[in-house]
């Protein structure tokens, strides 16, 4: 089936497979459709059906509440065409970055499950062939018996790799996380689509980095830190990290973050901010080279940076309320330009 998107001076046509999300089909064809979460939460891929038939997908997608059904609005990340369709998209369609890899559908094998905390699990997805992605990107992942895709940022980085490492936090009632935390899980076939996401790290931009992560939002930032560490980026660039968790038993990646800090002691600063417990660094808590703090991570972070940092790129990753709470003061008080903020909100 064909999807056609007409813009003023250009029209885009791409093929969509039976059961394939319109967004994924367009991105796979190299058409840079607007999106952020790609999984029904943010509403950035809102479009309008002008002609044709489609199934609108996940009825409870959180972003659906903002759609105007009388205008035939739809979420491209959820909709599946059942005939040729013509749709309208309310944003410019710009080309991909030259070094962007076109996302693709891949079948992989999940394995190597390891608990990082009582409710955070790390796992690998092994792919048949090596692929490339930018540090900070994510894939959407679909598992057997669980409806729909969920987005996960890669923790690891390599210029080419056939192993993607992800973390997932247990959510009561979350179908995917219940599947992940099920003791009977072993090696399973998973469908993934990606790489996706624009909260990416590009060494040639020569920015200092200011990073704020809530909980499992640290995943994509680990990938960026790992990439930078491997190419000695932090020999002459600064990185300041604020990582928010609730209590000491919710902290993870302490050893990995400490190792990166110790490799570049002058240029990397890693703060771990506890919201629900006062933690000091000692034998009992063992926070390695991490600097502990207490409070809400965005408040600690925004108090910990000086304005006028024109060459600093901010990376924000965490639940939407945390990211939103960072954006306003970054722009108003710390004078960050909109082009110096990259974020990854996940619900």
């Amino acid at each position: 089936m064909k999807i056609e998107i007409e813009k003023k001076d250009q029209s885009f046509v791409f093929e969509v497979m039976q059961g394939e999300k319109i967004l994924y089909a367009g991105l796979r064809a190299g058409i840079s459709l607007p999106y952020e979460c790609a999984t029904g939460t943010c509403g950035s891929c809102k479009a309008r059906l002008k002609e044709g038939d489609l199934q609108s997908g996940w009825p409870d997608a959180p972003a659906r509440k903002n759609l105007k059904t009388e205008r035939q609005e739809l979420l491209m990340c959820q909709a599946e065409a059942t005939s040729d369709c013509r749709i309208g998209v309310p944003a410019a369609i710009k080309p991909f970055r030259q070094d962007d890899l076109k996302p693709q559908h891949i079948k992989g094998i999940s394995s190597n499950w390891r608990l990082l905390t009582h409710d955070v699990m790390q796992f690998d997805v092994t792919l048949p062939d090596a692929i490339s992605f930018h540090a900070g990107q994510f894939f959407v992942v679909k598992t057997p018996g669980v409806e729909g895709f969920r987005a996960y940022s890669m923790v690891n980085y390599a210029p080419e790799t056939n192993v993607l490492e992800f973390i997932i936090k247990k959510k009561p009632g979350g179908g995917f996380s219940e599947w992940v935390f099920d003791d009977k899980r072993g090696k399973d076939l998973v469908e993934i689509f990606g790489p996706l996401g624009r909260a990416t790290f590009h060494p040639d931009e020569n920015h200092d980095l200011f990073m704020i992560a809530g909980g499992s939002g640290i995943a994509g930032l680990m990938s960026i830190l790992q990439h930078g560490s491997e190419i000695d980026y932090f020999s002459d660039h600064q990185a300041t990290v604020f990582f928010g968790v609730r209590t000491r038993k919710d902290a993870f990646f302490v050893d990995q973050l400490s190792a990166i800090k110790r490799k570049f002691p002058d240029n990397i600063h890693v703060n771990i901010i506890f919201s629900d417990e006062q933690v000091t660094n000692g034998a009992a808590s063992d926070l390695g080279a991490l600097q502990p703090g207490f409070g809400m991570v965005h408040e600690a972070a925004l108090a910990g940076i000086a304005p006028g940092t024109a060459n600093t790129m901010a990376y924000l990753a965490g639940p939407p309320p945390m990211v939103d709470a960072c954006i306003r003061p970054l722009i108003m008080d710390l004078k960050f330009g909109a082009n110096m903020i990259r974020y990854d909100k996940f619900g």
Binding site: K7, G43, P90
Partner: protein
């Protein structure tokens, strides 16, 4: 629309006149009046808009505009629509000939 001291410099406020919502912005040497939503995805700018240094930013996708001219900056792709305004006797007047609305997409004429 409102008194000139009802909207602080470098900020904006929403007013409703006969069922038409208008954002009135104080840009320092005068006032501007825009429709209430972001031209991108129709977020209500009274909630999502950030005024700083004469630049309006919508915090959803970081579209930005020059508050005086409505011209887009950075990633923004469409200008803000503006009503004519003037000040008289300490009041901000907005000329509403008809309600200004953004086209959802450009090719739907």
């Amino acid at each position: 629309m409102c008194a000139t001291d009802a909207v602080a410099e470098d900020s904006m406020k929403r007013f409703d006149v006969e069922g038409i919502a208008i954002l009135v912005a104080n840009v320092g040497d005068g006032f501007r009046a825009y429709p209430p939503v972001c031209p991108h995805m129709e977020e209500f700018l009274e909630n999502s808009g950030i005024c700083a240094g004469g630049v309006l930013t919508c915090d959803r996708h970081l579209w930005q505009w020059d508050m005086k001219t409505g011209e887009p900056q950075g990633p923004a792709e469409k200008p803000l629509l503006m009503y004519d305004t003037k000040e008289e006797d300490g009041q901000v007047m907005v000329l509403i000939e008809q309600e200004l609305e953004y086209e959802f997409d450009d090719d739907d004429d």
